[in-house]
């Protein structure tokens, strides 16, 4: 692909002062990476195509500490929260400035701050900003954006996946406090988090969307139990979080009592679109046409007509997805409201990685099924075993398609009784998720 991840010249246009400031900051605090010319040097570097990190606890801990420290450095220099309001530690600039900063920072060797940014800064911070009281904002926003506090999202439950509004974790009022009991699941970064945003059922006699309340939970409070959840790829990126009579003060409530669905929608809307995501990281590089062609050469199949045909199909879709992403950025810059590009991009991102992994498997044959020790062979399993998740997380493919068809094409919703009936009377999966 002839694309890079840096900001294009036109995005930088008119931002010379900001660019100079960012450059000066990065030069002072980080080392510039060598320019990536896309050339593949087979056999060089770490033999890993990790999608979900699977580090031993000490390495994991070190990475989280490095992430917090880098976020603090950003924050102390005015880049911790570029779009946020000044009174809570933000810089009050536009999302375009944010994009420019990200593009420039990608040229430098800096710690990956995903543990803070994907959930806490990208989704929960904006939710607190929209729905928090001034006291909540003062207490939590500077802490989040300076790297002191990591936040996680206590949303999904064993019996509430795609149908998030059918969640069952109970919150019962007790004077100035609420008592929370229930189980959350698929919680990223919970092990490192100081703060959790929990959705709870406060009135089961109302229809499901109208009896939900949102709280900020202190993850170190008594009764909060975080247990790693081992996923099919082997690592434990996610967790289960058990809440057992966890007491939460009423001033930690986000939004109105029974008004939590509105709060949740804010969080979900801020779920960062994966626009521009492909091409980044070891997985994106591995499925690039250059790398897959090198794989074919390395394993003696450069001229296999059937494989070449499949590679052509894959690369055409990858390139078109990259065009779609770049055009979305251009439109955003021109102030045009985003269309369905983000959802299309997410679906294509998952499909392209999945097809890339299966393509590699066909090239490798038995070398994928059993480790021969060859560089760049058995390590494809890391990506292959992660790909089923790409069709599930952040909204399953099926839910994404419902949203596209209903919101873009205006197709009618599935008729149902579940939005009118009191939650208590709805048929639900058994608690604990067993059928």
């Amino acid at each position: 692909m002839s694309t890079d991840n840096g900001p294009s010249a036109e995005v930088l246009d008119g931002m010379e002062d900001f660019v100079a400031e960012v450059r000066a900051f990065l030069e002072a605090h980080a080392t510039r990476l060598p320019v990536d010319d896309g050339a593949v040097e087979w056999g060089r570097g770490e033999d890993s195509i990790a999608y979900f990190p699977d580090d031993p606890p000490d390495v994991d801990e070190r990475k989280v500490t490095a992430a917090r420290e880098w976020q603090k450095t950003r924050y102390d220099n005015g880049f911790g929260w570029i779009t946020g309001p000044a009174e809570y530690g933000g810089r009050a600039l536009t999302s375009l400035h944010d994009m420019v900063y990200d593009g420039l920072e990608a040229e430098y060797d800096v710690p990956d701050t995903g543990v803070l940014s994907l959930i806490g800064l990208g989704m929960i911070g904006p939710t607190i900003l929209t729905h928090g009281t001034p006291e909540i904002k003062r207490r939590h926003l500077p802490a989040l954006y300076s790297g002191r506090s990591i936040a996680c999202q206590l949303f999904s439950e064993p019996a509430a996946g795609s149908d998030l509004a059918s969640l069952e974790t109970k919150a019962v009022r007790d004077g100035d406090e609420w008592v929370l009991t229930g189980q959350k699941v698929w919680t990223s970064v919970a092990r490192h988090a100081q703060l959790g945003m929990a959705l709870t059922r406060t009135d089961p006699d109302k229809p499901k969307h109208r009896g939900i309340t949102a709280f900020l939970v202190d993850m170190s409070a008594p009764g909060v139990d975080v247990r790693p959840l081992r996923q099919m790829s082997g690592g434990s990126e996610f967790n289960e979080v058990f809440l057992d009579d966890v007491r939460v003060p009423d001033d930690h409530r986000l939004g109105e009592v029974d008004g939590g669905w509105t709060v949740a929608l804010t969080t979900l809307m801020n779920e960062r679109a994966s626009v521009g995501g492909e091409g980044a990281g070891p997985a994106g590089k591995a499925v690039s046409v250059g790398f897959l062609a090198a794989l074919m050469r390395e394993f003696g199949q450069a001229d296999d007509a059937a494989l070449r045909r499949r590679l052509g199909e894959l690369h055409a879709d990858q390139a078109a997805t990259a065009y779609l992403n770049r055009q979305a950025v251009r439109r955003m810059r021109a102030g045009v409201q985003p269309g369905p590009e983000a959802s299309v991009s997410k679906l294509m991102y998952g499909q392209n990685l999945t097809r890339g992994a299966h393509f590699a498997a066909e090239v490798l044959g038995p070398r994928l099924a059993a480790d021969t020790g060859a560089w760049g062979a058995y390590s494809w399993n890391e990506l292959l075993l992660a790909t089923p998740a790409l069709r599930i997380l952040g909204g399953t493919e099926e839910i994404m398609k419902n949203i596209l068809a209903e919101r873009v094409l205006g197709l009618p919703k599935e008729p149902g009784i579940d939005t009118r009936t009191p939650f208590r009377e709805l048929r639900r999966s058994h608690q604990g998720g067993t059928p």
Partner: protein
């Protein structure tokens, strides 16, 4: 011109072309014209030039054009694809026009482009043999020097609008290498045979040349880079047409899924149908992005992928996406979609036929890899 200003002008252009085509080339007219002998409506063709200036759009002013680029042309082609307009626009304006511009031959351009731009001359480009390949080293026509000029001999196939065009640009092998020649549609020794076609809205012909007089266009032996450039632009143009057709299929399906009631519900409320429509939307958006990238690359806008890459990608993605949406459109409609009266088959025919132009899937996937350096 800033991008936003450009966008509103493009929207205006789209609106006027759509209005024109829905008035002049609705389904009824398309069906009438596709049964006619020439396969296009001469009155509508003339109005396209005289009222909207569509044929003039991309040609330089010195040749009677308006000097716009592929960004504008792409919008026009999308609307033509959407309306299934039967016309020699792709062959005359895109294939022949691009060949004359790419050949860098001032005399030939001056002789032919004003006619093409005004719509008075209909031209086309003849390259392929019976395999359909555009390989310049395997051209089916041979050009030989005679005392009084050049003579062409051989049989060329799948010439778009070849039976009706006034001017034929014929690629031929010569002792100097692959070369381009201008041939009159009424030349002695030329036999033109209209072929039966899968897509009744786009005509194809076989040309048998037996000692036909041809005038060289561009440098003798210099046709290979010209054909390569023309192919990039032709793929870019075709991709725009394909996106227009694919979007029409998507919109028709979505409208039908909203209205058609079975089992007491609109069928679009069933996920089996809803997800089909969402899949179509995804492919259309992807095709649209690819076609747009290629058009903007052809227009020379900065920051786009190289034309050679984007054109091949667009041709591949738009061909696959159009065929997918045209087939799914029939499925969403069920039995009614399989009738002759329903337009779904016309889109299916156009989609399959377009996919097979310029070398077909083997050609475009090969070109995609070639342009990626693999």
């Amino acid at each position: 011109m800033s991008e936003t200003a450009g966008q509103s002008e493009l929207d205006d252009l789209r609106g006027s072309v759509r209005d024109f085509l829905s008035a002049k080339s609705g389904e009824e007219q398309v069906r009438r014209v596709m049964e006619s002998e020439t396969g296009y409506d001469e009155a509508v063709w003339a109005q396209m030039a005289d009222q909207l200036g569509l044929q003039q759009l991309v040609f330089p002013e010195e040749h009677g054009g308006y000097g716009f680029g592929f960004a504008e042309l792409s919008v026009v082609l999308q609307e033509m694809g959407r309306a299934l307009l039967p016309s020699p626009f792709l062959s005359s304006v895109v294939l022949a026009g691009s060949a004359l511009l790419a050949a860098d031959d001032a005399a030939a351009a001056a002789a032919h482009l004003p006619g093409i731009a005004s719509g008075k001359t209909i031209a086309t480009l003849a390259v392929a043999g019976e395999s359909g390949s555009w390989d310049p080293t395997a051209l089916p026509v041979v050009g030989t020097r005679a005392d009084d000029g050049w003579r062409l001999g051989g049989t060329t196939w799948f010439v778009l609008d070849g039976a009706t065009a006034d001017l034929l640009l014929v690629a031929a092998t010569t002792d100097a290498g692959p070369s381009l020649f201008a041939v009159s549609g009424t030349a002695a020794g030329l036999t033109r045979t209209a072929l039966r076609t899968l897509d009744p809205t786009r005509r194809q012909a076989r040309l048998d040349l037996d000692g036909v007089v041809g005038t060289p266009v561009g440098a003798l032996g210099g046709a290979a880079p010209v054909l390569d450039r023309v192919l990039d632009l032709a793929m870019t143009a075709l991709a725009a047409e394909q996106v227009g057709g694919a979007r029409a299929c998507l919109e028709t399906s979505a409208a039908y899924a909203r209205d058609r009631v079975q089992f007491g519900r609109p069928i679009g409320s069933f996920q089996a149908v809803k997800h089909k429509c969402a899949d179509m939307l995804v492919r259309v958006q992807l095709a649209d992005a690819a076609a747009q990238e290629a058009a903007e690359a052809a227009a020379g806008l900065p920051g786009r992928a190289p034309l050679a890459e984007a054109a091949a990608v667009a041709h591949a993605v738009c061909s696959e996406s159009y065929l997918f949406t045209a087939a799914e459109n029939i499925q969403v409609h069920g039995g009614i979609g399989f009738t002759w009266e329903h337009p779904a088959h016309l889109y299916f025919r156009r989609a399959k036929s377009s996919q097979l132009l310029f070398g077909g899937p083997a050609g475009y996937f090969g070109r995609v890899l070639d342009r990626a350096g693999v």
